[in-house]
C-alpha cells in the first residue's frame, strides 16, 4: 500500500491551506498510512493557547487531537522551523516528533506520495 506524506507549511488563519491539509490527512488516513509534517509557518498551527474566537474565525486546532483516533501516529515537526521562530516542543498542543532537515529528506524519499499544502 502506498504511504502518504502530507506537508503543511502555512500559518493557521491567513489562508485556508492549513485546514485543507488537515482535511486531506483525515481523508487519506481512511485508505493509506499517512504521515504529517509541520514545516515553516505550518508549525504555528499547533501553537498552544490559540483562541480564534478573538477574530471571529472557527478554530480548527482542536481537530488535531483526533488524529490519533484516525490512526495518524507519525506526526513530525521540523526542528529548524521551530528554532527560527523562537518556539520549542513545549509550546505545541500535540505530541509530536521533532526532526532534523536530514530526517525530512528521508521522509520525502521513503513515502510514495508527497502532498504539500
Amino acid at each position: 500500500m502506498k504511504s502518504f506524506l502530507i506537508i503543511t507549511r502555512r500559518s493557521p488563519y491567513g489562508t485556508s491551506y492549513g485546514k485543507e491539509a488537515l482535511d486531506a490527512v483525515l481523508m487519506a488516513s481512511a485508505f493509506v498510512p499517512v504521515s504529517l509534517l509541520f514545516l515553516d509557518d505550518g508549525v504555528f498551527q499547533i501553537k498552544q493557547h490559540q483562541d480564534a474566537d478573538c477574530i471571529e474565525i472557527k478554530d480548527y486546532s482542536p481537530t488535531f487531537a483526533v488524529l490519533e483516533q484516525y490512526d495518524v501516529k507519525n506526526i513530525y515537526v521540523s526542528a529548524s522551523s521551530l528554532q527560527h521562530r523562537g518556539l520549542t516542543e513545549k509550546d505545541l498542543v500535540l505530541d509530536v516528533e521533532v526532526i532534523s532537515d536530514a530526517r525530512i529528506a528521508n521522509l520525502l524519499d521513503t513515502n510514495a506520495v508527497v502532498l504539500s499544502f
Binding site: 502555512r10 491567513g14 504555528f44 498552544q48 490559540q50 474566537d53 521562530r85 523562537g86 518556539l87 509550546d91
Partner: protein
C-alpha cells in the same frame, strides 16, 4: 507621520522587510493578522523588529487568536481595535503592506 500596517508573516513573505526599508522613525508600524508573527521574541526577526526605526505595535486580538501572548517580544506594545481606529485618526495617512 504615517501609520504602516503589515499583515504577512516575515517567515513566509518579504512584506515586513519592504515596509521597514521604507518606514521612518516618525512613523508607526502596526502588525496585524499574520503580521503579528513578526513580534515573536527569540525568533529570527526579533532583533530586526526590536531595533526598527518606526514605533512598533501589535494588534492584540490577532496575537491572542494565534496563541502568542506568551511569546510577545517584551519591547513591543499591543493595541486593541479601538486603539487601531485611534491610530488611523492621529496619523496623516495609512499605508497598507499586504
Amino acid at each position: 507621520m504615517i501609520l504602516h500596517t503589515v499583515n504577512k508573516s516575515p517567515y513566509a513573505d518579504q512584506t515586513l522587510l519592504s515596509c521597514l526599508r521604507a518606514a521612518s522613525e516618525k512613523d508607526t508600524l502596526l502588525l496585524i493578522e499574520d503580521g503579528v508573527y513578526g513580534a515573536l521574541k527569540g525568533g529570527e526577526y526579533s532583533a530586526l523588529v526590536e531595533s526598527a526605526a518606526p514605533r512598533i505595535l501589535v494588534l492584540a486580538p490577532d496575537l491572542e487568536a494565534r496563541g502568542l501572548l506568551d511569546k510577545l517580544s517584551t519591547t513591543i506594545a499591543t493595541v486593541d481595535y479601538a486603539g487601531f481606529v485611534e491610530l488611523t485618526v492621529t496619523h496623516d495617512k495609512v499605508v497598507s503592506w499586504f
